[in-house]
Amino acid sequence: MALPLSSKITIIFSIFTILSTRFVSCNNGRRLNNDPLEAEFNSFSVPLEHSFEVDDVANFEVRGALVLKAGREPSVSLAQQQLSEYDRAKLKEVAAVDGLYRIRVPRVLLQADRQTERLMDGHLTAFVRACAMVESHLSDVITLHTDVAGHLIGVSIVTIPGACRGSEVEDEVDLEAFNTTLSIMAPVNAPGPETALFLERMELETEKKGKNPQEQKSFFAKYWMYIVPLVLFLMMSGAQDPSGGGAGGGAANGGGR
């Protein structure tokens, strides 16, 4: 099994180098991943689509391809092209009327064994204000969220900076290429109560106490003249309510440590 696999890898690698060299001229060296063979490496690509219209009616077009790599730690990369002249103009126009810039990705299951099981019907959508997109010079942060089983459940997009201040943006320089930060996030495991650590700490403390009991003892012996008036003062101030008793109890507990 190992032998054919490794041979395949070499083949694919060679194809890959060919492909990337082919795309170099039009894609600034970024790889565009439409290679079907890639899927066998537990990674596959889905389109990332965007939409920005002056009348705010969604009309999604392909922005790039997301390459998702399943596995214990899923990873994602993105290959995308520049905005065309027409798109740049449209984006600025949409930004001027405070329209929305929307993106969507199809729902997929990362951990599926077969390609057919991966795609599920429906899309996940998110948006950002078009002016924020323009003013941040197309620097966006896209995050894909998965659930425990590896289903893609949500996508979010923010731009950095996120504000619309109405600053001037130059077409050719600033709106040329996307500067995308992409990440995929699986749910974190929420911590349970930390009993083990607590017990360990308690043990350590008792051990410490056991080691130099004299120091512990001399502590009260040293400072009793401060403690007694304080206790008296507290008792006086809280004499009417049961909080005095609670305070005493707290002191006793503290003293025990």
Partner: protein
Amino acid sequence: MAKLIFLWLKCLVSCCIVEAVFEDQVGKFDWRQQYVGKIRFSHFDSHVQSSKKVLMATEKNVFAALNTRTGELFWRHVDKTGPEGNIDAFLLHGQDALLVVGNGRLLRSWDISVGGLNWEVVLDSGSFQSACLIGQQDTVKHVAVLKKTVISVHYLSNGHQKWIENLPESENIDYQALYSGGNGEVYVLGIVPHSHIAIVVYSMEDGEIIKQTSVEAPWLSNIQTSCAVVGQGMITCVDSLTMSLYTLDMHTQSKMTQIPLQVCSYTNSKPYTKAELLIISNLNHDLKHCDYLVIYYLGCNTACSLSLFNAETGRRLLDTTQFLSIDPNVGKPESIYVQAFLKKDDSVSYRVLVQTEDHTLTFIHLPGRVMWTREEALSEVVTMEMVELPLTGTQAELEGEFGKKADGLLSMVLKRLSSQLILLQAWVSHLWKLFYDARKPRSQVKNEISIENLSRDEFNLQKMMVMVTASGKLFGIDSKTGSILWKQYLNNVPSNAAFKLMVQRTTAHFPHPPQCTLLIKDKDTGLATLHVFNPIFGKKSHITPPALTQPILQSLMLPLMDQDYAKVLLLIDDQYKVTAFPSSKNVLQQLQETASFIFFYLMDSSQGRLSGYRLRMDLSTEQIWEVIIPTEIQKVVTVKGKRSNEHVHSQGRVMGDRSVLYKYLNPNLLAVVTESTDVHQERSFIGILLIDGVTGRIIHEAVQRKAKGPVHVVHSENWVVYEYWSTKSRRNEFSVIELYEGMELYNSTVFSSLDRPHAPHVLQQSYIFPSAISAMEATLTEKGITSRHLLIGLPSGGILSLPKMFLDPRRPEIVSEQSREENLIPYAPELLIRTEWFINYNQSVSRVRGIHTAPSGLESTCLVVAYGLDIYQTRVYPSKQFDVLKDDYDYMLISSVLFALFFATMISKRLAEVKLLNRAWR
């Protein structure tokens, strides 16, 4: 020295969180009302002639005894909720009450005089049909329980089983009823619907079948609902179609005899809506000479009549007819329980306990005198709001002066003078009242609160509690005393309705009355109606709400106000069209202006789809984001936003090194809780998603493994607290998530979900909680300065006020100088329940379903209402009463000290002057 500081810190901590009531404060700021729920079975205690008990078993699995004179509870037993504690049958014999509980699982005997349990036995499995007492030579010593296929007989004294027999098997006979005539035989009645009745007779001694017969009864479909056995083995059935009684003597006859009822004396042109046989047997011993009595009532739309009939002849007894007028505020009678007795002149009289559609219990003496009423609908409060009381007339007058437009200098002056005069008048009358009251003994001076003299108190501590109950009845309750000030029954509420109560206009906008809107939605069809009313008087508003023809998906209260200061309510229907209420021109214009900033979300938990929409100018909507949580893995159980009336006073927390950690205060944040569909204890989990409701951005996604629901969530400020059951450790655990922006704020002036690119820091910590919980809410105060507490309703009936300080993910594992500086309590995995944290001391609140908190006019004080089977209202002071002088504050001491100081300064000044003068002369 460090140890010392730590110790005192602990002392201080325990000092400032200890709170409890003093003995003399019991009942001063709090009250509790206990309810039983809707009656299922009820019997009057006829054991002793002078007894004033009525016993009832209710739909809420409560067994209780009420005082028939006052309607107050003697005692009450609350069983488990759901089918496990369901009361199937209730028999009363002398001092013993027998209950069959949990679909024939348990047989219990109670002593009704004190409400103690005599004995309890576990019955064999099988679905329960009927139970009856078995008499033998005028004494009752046994009880028989009929199940689907089995009949068993038990001793009344100790519950032991005497014998158990299988019923004769037959395909289509449905055994439904039991009867014993007191001659050592047990009759089991079975029915083949619309065909015949089968009667099986068992011997009481050994359970042998003596006789089996069958009787034709083609008009009968169910024995339990339309038949009863009276006297010596006389089956009496009512056929409401032909308006006649059928009788059959089981010992002798084999055919039923028909007796048409005399109902012609009742003349009313309106059609009868209900004719029912109510009570036949189980009468007082004194009534033996008039063998059977039938009480029959005819219901119709405006009134209903009750009368006693003789069962043998079908003749109506004289002077026993009474008319019950049906209050439109109460609904129609649902069931009636009659206590018949003989008067001194040997004529028959009776008292009736009427339960109406709105679950009100009314106890009526024969001439129609209402002895007491109980609002049992309050045992099922669904939602509630607390509304501020209006100003008094004089205050309102003053307010009105400023509210009106200026019309000339002179008239303004006159107006001012007149209002000052009114104020003076009010003050004088107030003084006079004080003087007058002072002469009376303390106990007599009890201000009766009525709807007329309702007014806001100095600190806004008294509010109107508007409660919505499942039966569709609304209540207005005074929060200070708990007295019901108004009630309104909505009789068109579907049985499976969901309610949402919103305050559209508070009392703050004087000339305009306060306005509440109740959204009533049928859960099946999604169709909704709006009920608009004045929360202070309960009156329906004259404003006509929009007609809603489409199912409603979501409702949304906007901070926008129309020209009459009513907040705008948006209703989104299933076509994603938006209806605004009120929908005046002003509102529509405002909506058009702000449309692009109005976002809302919809949750479809059946598909796991959470989607966001934005309002358009033409009141249509567009979808802008979508998150889909696959339902095959987990299902969404709760979506919880923040409360709109919540204020956060401090933007951040001061750290030990004097830097500030800023809170992530996103008002649009939603906490979405999911539960896994896989219930295996190793694989089940609970998911927590924090989603921005405007942008759909998932702020945080966490999974609590090996955990299952039910999950209780509280979402407030920058934290989410949730409680779950840990399947691994088999215990309840609390978890807290806090969100922080970090050491600097991104935009300190305003929060916008659209412009907050950096994800917050998420801190989380979990704790063990030693009890299950039934409801949870956080305290709420006017300005949010007071520290927060969590109010936790426990199944034991206690309401715990747990300081949020203990649920703080920054509690350090290892104590450092900085954490000490910050007053952080060192981490301990277990949260202890301290008895002084119970805010309801010994006033247990059964089955708490919800806790409502409302701010008062005092920053230190939060009003709390816990509702479930009972209602409990109290006040809590999470940071103690820092803005109030204590009740026993020593005014004498402080004023004498002040005066003394004043005189001392005067004298010393004088002395100093003299001394200066002398020095100048020298």
